[in-house]
């Protein structure tokens, strides 16, 4: 179909088409150009990141199965403790481990080990990490890969390495989820006392 169209159109353009038919021919050429370009982009994606992704996903999926999701439950219990020193556990370590092992969306089930007042903050923290982790561990959220890959493709086109961006994205992500956890916890606490007073 595609070859036919190109062959047919190139035969037409030999003597510079004019008039209505000429306009149609030019239109048809422009039309198929969009999909030719899209097709070559698709091929470069499938040949570029897809094979690596499949192998990486397989390895990490196997690792997660060997570790077993039930082992991280103790971490959830530790994160529920009050006190300043448990903040990083609750809003950095626990979201990271849950998103890595349980992936999106099952990671949020780890909230069940926390008291009610920490649950919104933990959700906020965990859900904010499902994209920053993608640069290095795409298995955590393969359905939303293009938040990262979309921008990363541009960097690749410039001939630059992705390692630097992926690592910084992950590290900044950890800082951001920590701040988000604390801020949301404070807001939740304030709103809870307000609603208790109102009753």
């Amino acid at each position: 179909m595609h070859f036919l169209a190109v062959g047919f159109l190139s035969a037409v353009t030999v003597d510079k088409p004019t008039g209505v038919l000429g306009a149609l021919a030019t239109g048809a050429e422009d039309f198929i150009k969009v999909f030719n370009k899209g097709g070559s982009v698709l091929l470069s994606l499938m040949g570029g990141i897809l094979p690596t992704l499949v192998v990486l996903l397989t390895a990490v999926n196997a690792l997660v199965r060997i570790i077993g999701p039930e082992r991280i439950e103790n971490l959830g219990k530790a994160a529920a403790r009050p006190g300043l020193q448990w903040y990083p556990v609750r809003y950095i370590v626990l979201p990271f481990v849950s998103v890595f092992v349980l992936t999106n969306p099952m990671a949020y089930t780890m909230g069940r080990f926390l008291p009610e007042r920490f649950k919104p903050a933990f959700y906020d923290s965990a859900v904010s990490f499902v994209h920053p982790i993608l640069g290095i561990f795409p298995h955590a959220n393969p359905g939303e890969l293009f938040v990262y890959v979309g921008i990363a493709t541009g960097i690749q086109q410039l001939g630059l390495g992705l390692g630097d961006l992926a690592v910084r994205y992950l590290l900044v992500g950890l800082v951001v989820i920590f701040i988000r956890g604390i801020v949301t916890e404070r807001i939740t606490a304030r709103m809870m006392t307000k609603s208790e007073k109102g009753e």
């Binding site: 899209g38 199965r65 933990f122 959700y123 359905g143 979309g150 900044v172």
Partner: protein, 181 residues
């Protein structure tokens, strides 16, 4: 005991490992076919459209100003974090993925400096998960009273932490791809 039980043990554990690897491969192919490749097809079409038609230049003009400066990125993040908009922008991260791809095309063409890729990743995404708060909290076995407070708490928190994340990412992007300029 003895030889035959050892054989059984080895056979079983090897079988177990192979089974795990095989199942992991099956899960992977499942996800790739159901989630990754459809999105690649869709994104390829959009990129094809952007690169071959004039839409690309039009978008470039609009995006270039806002995505290649800190105030512009902050503006994007503030808009995406508005509590009424963020749940609408959230589902499936589709908006973030499309905008990310558009920005990627512009970065590839050199219209947006490469070091802005890091703050841009946060600027396009302050709405992450805002559509999913009740479900996410329910997965964490939260009580209805918690959900009632948790939804606005997360949405309001994003108003602060969304732009803040852009600033942090901007600071962290110093030294990223600068030698390439």
């Amino acid at each position: 005991m003895g030889f035959s039980s050892t054989v059984t043990k080895v056979g079983r554990s090897v079988g177990g490992v192979v089974g795990i690897l095989y199942q992991a491969g099956r899960d992977t192919v499942d996800t790739v076919i159901r989630n990754v490749i459809p999105f690649m097809a869709f994104i390829s079409f959009i990129i094809g459209l952007i690169l071959t038609t004039g839409i690309g230049d039009w978008i470039a003009k609009g995006i270039k100003g806002s995505a290649s400066s800190l105030p512009g990125l902050l503006l994007i993040s503030v808009v995406c974090a508005i509590p009424l908009l963020s749940p609408l922008l959230g589902p499936g991260a589709v908006i973030a993925q499309i905008v990310g791809t558009l920005l990627g095309v512009e970065i590839g063409k050199g219209n947006i400096p490469a070091q802005y890729s890091l703050p841009a990743l946060f600027a396009i995404n302050p709405q992450v998960g805002c559509d999913f708060i009740p479900v996410g909290l329910a997965l964490g076995e939260a009580e209805p009273a918690t959900v009632e407070i948790g939804v606005p708490a997360v949405l309001f928190s994003r108003m602060v932490t969304g732009p803040l994340a852009v600033v942090i990412a901007y600071v962290a992007s110093f030294g990223l791809y600068t030698s390439a300029k």
